[in-house]
Amino acid sequence: MIRFLLKGLFHDRSRSRLPIIVVAIGVMLAVFMNAYITGFMGDTIEMNARFTHGHLKVMTRAYAENEGQVPNDLALTEVSALKEELSGRFPELDWAARIQFGGLVDVPDEFGETRSQGPAAGMGIDLLSPDSREAGRLNIQKSIVRGRIVQNAGEALLAEQFSRKLGVDPGDEVTLIGSTMHGSMSMYNFRVAGTVSFGVEALDRGTIIVDIEDARNALDMYDAAGELIGLFETGFYDDERALEIARAFNTPFEEDKDEYAPVMKTLTQQGSMGQLVKMLDVWGIYIIAIFIVAMALVLWNAGLLGGLRRYGEFGVRLAMGEEKNHLYRTLIYESIFIGIAGAFIGTAIGLFFAALVQKYGINISGLMEGSAMMYPSAIRTRITTTDYYIGFIPGLFATIIGTMLAGIGIYRRKTSQLFKELEA
C-alpha cells in the first residue's frame, strides 16, 4: 500500500508539488532563522562574555551589588592568590583579573594646558604578561586602526572614534583623571600606542585600554582588581557547569557576613544576560511553533483543495471497501512522505544560505549607532547540529496537522451518496 501511495504522489505532481514547496520554504526559513538566532545571539553573548561578564566572574559581594557603578573601592584584594586558587580548582576555565574604571581623558597642548577632554570608560587588562590571552580574547590586534598594540608600561589604546573626537594620534600623551581605590584623586599619564575599533558601538564611543599593572598604579590598586573573570577553555558557555562551579565556590562564603567576601556569578546571573541566554534556548521552540502554525494553515488549505480534486478517488476507494479510517491514515502516510521530502529539501537550502551568511556575514554596524549593549557589527549565522534536524519538526508536524484537518471531510462524507456522486 505504501508503494501504491508513493506512486500516486510521484505520478500526480499537483498532489505533492505544492505541499513539498510549502514545506521546503517553511523549513528553509526555520533552519535559517535558527542558525541566524544562534549566530547573532550567540555572538552577542560571547562578545559580552569576553568583554565584560566572563562566563563566570568573581567580585566582592559589595562590588557585585553595585556593579553598574564600577566601585573600585570595593574591589578584590590579594588577587594573585585568588587567581591561583581558582586556576587550581577550576582548570577548565582561564582566569584573568580586570579593572573597569571611569575617568576623564585629558589631552594637553604644547603648554600643558587642556586642549580637549572627554569622559572615558577604561579597561585595565593583562596586556603585557607573556602568558596572557587577554589581547587575543578581545581581538585587539585585529581591531587596531592606527598605531600598534600596547607593548610597554605606560601605554594606552584609545577607541578610534574617541581619539578622533579628542584629536589624539598615536604617540601623543594623554592624562587619565580618575579616583583611586581609596577615594583620592588620581592623575596618570599614558602615551597613546594606537587606536582601536571593535565594531561595537558601546565600546567605540569612549574606551581607553591599558595594561592592568598601569591601571593598578593609576588607581592605587596593588594586587587588587575589580573582577576576576573566567572563560571556559572550550570557548562556549555551559550554563549547567557554570552554575555548578559558582555553587561550589560560593558555598564556603554563604555564612560570611563580610561585604568584601568574594562571590562568583555566572554569565546568566549578570544583568540581562540570563534573559538573553534563556531566549537563545527557547528561540528554537518559538521558531518551530510559528512555522508549524503557519505551514499547517497553508497545508490545511492545500489539503482541502487537494481533497476536492481527489473527491472522486476517495469515493471509489470507499465504494471498493476501504474504511474511512484507513483512507484517512493513508492521507497521513502521504503527508509524512511530503513532510520528510520537503524537510530534506528545505533543510538543504536553509543550510546553504546559512553557510553563506556564516562565511560572509551581513554588516549591520549602521543599525547599532548609539547602542549601549555590545552587539556584533556583522550578523553571522552559526550552523549547529540542531539545524540539521530542527526543520523536520515543523515540516512533519505541519503537514500531518494540515492533512488531519483537511481530511476530516472524509468522515463527513455520506457513503450512501457514493453512487450518485460517482455517476456524474
Partner: protein, 233 residues
C-alpha cells in the same frame, strides 16, 4: 435465506427526509436474486434503481424491511462490516469509470487486492488474469487518460472482477460508451458471468444493456412494476 439466493429483499422501504415530510424512494420491495444471475434493475430516472443498488451494495441501509446480501443483513452491519463486505464480496462498475487517473492500468486493477492484503506474487497473477479477461494485457503501463472510453470501462470491469467477487453491481455501465464499445463491454461481462459464475446486478435504462439481461426487474416510482425473464441473447 435460501442457499442459492445471493440477495434476498423482504418488504423493503427506503425513505429520505424532505423538510418536515419524508420522500419514499422505495416501497414494498420483495426480491430474490440467485447466485450467477445476470439481472438488471430497469426503470426511468427517479424510479429508485440507484437507491436499491446502494442498499444492495451496503452503501446505504433500508428504512424498514430487510435486505440480505450474502447472508448479511445490510441494515444491521456496522460501517466497518459494510466496508468489509464491499471489500471482500462486491465489485462496483460506475457509469463514468472512476479510475484513479494518476495510476496505471495495472495499479488500478491491483488496488482492491492491496486492500485485501494479498501477497505480491499472487496479486500480480490475479491482476494479469483480470486484464486478460478484458483483453488489456498490452495496456498495463498505460494511464486512464491514454485510453479510450471503452478501454477505461474494461479496466473498471477488471478492477471489479480481479478479486473474483460474488456480486458485481454496475450502475449505467454503458451510458458513456458508443454502441460498439457497449456491446463489447457487455459481452465481456456476460462471459465473466458464465466463466466465473459471478452475479451481475445492473441499474440501467439503456436498451443496449437491457437486451443482454436474463432477468429484468422493472421499477416504477419506487415499486417493482414487473419482473421479466428472457433467454440470453
Amino acid at each position: 435465506m435460501e442457499n442459492s439466493a445471493i440477495i434476498k429483499i423482504n418488504d423493503l422501504v427506503k425513505s429520505f427526509p424532505m423538510g418536515k415530510t419524508h420522500f419514499t424512494a422505495l416501497r414494498d420491495i420483495n426480491l430474490t436474486i440467485g447466485r450467477g444471475e445476470f439481472t438488471g434493475l430497469v426503470g426511468p430516472s427517479g424510479s429508485g434503481k440507484t437507491t436499491l443498488l446502494n442498499i444492495v451494495g451496503s452503501l446505504d441501509t433500508p428504512t424498514s424491511g430487510e435486505a440480505w446480501v450474502l447472508d448479511h443483513s445490510v441494515g444491521r452491519l456496522s460501517a466497518r462490516q459494510s466496508a468489509q463486505l464491499r471489500k471482500e464480496e462486491l465489485g462496483f462498475i460506475f457509469q463514468s469509470y472512476n479510475l484513479l487517473v494518476v495510476h496505471t492500468v495495472y495499479e488500478n486493477v491491483e488496488f482492491p487486492l492491496l486492500l485485501l492484503k494479498i501477497g505480491a506474487p499472487e496479486r500480480k497473477k490475479m491482476v494479469m488474469d483480470a486484464l486478460e479477461w478484458v483483453g488489456l494485457t498490452d495496456k498495463v503501463r498505460s494511464k486512464p487518460p491514454q485510453l479510450s472510453g471503452g478501454e477505461c470501462q474494461r479496466v473498471a470491469i477488471a478492477r471489479a472482477m480481479v478479486k473474483k467477487p460474488s456480486l458485481v453491481l454496475a450502475d449505467e455501465p454503458t451510458a458513456n460508451l458508443d454502441a460498439a464499445n457497449s456491446h463489447h463491454i457487455l459481452k465481456t461481462m456476460v462471459n465473466l458471468n458464465r466463466e466465473l459464475n459471478t452475479t451481475f446486478l445492473f441499474a440501467t435504462h439503456d436498451e443496449k444493456v437491457i437486451k443482454y439481461l436474463r432477468r429484468k426487474i422493472y421499477l416504477l416510482d419506487g415499486k417493482i412494476d414487473k419482473i421479466s425473464e428472457q433467454e440470453q441473447t
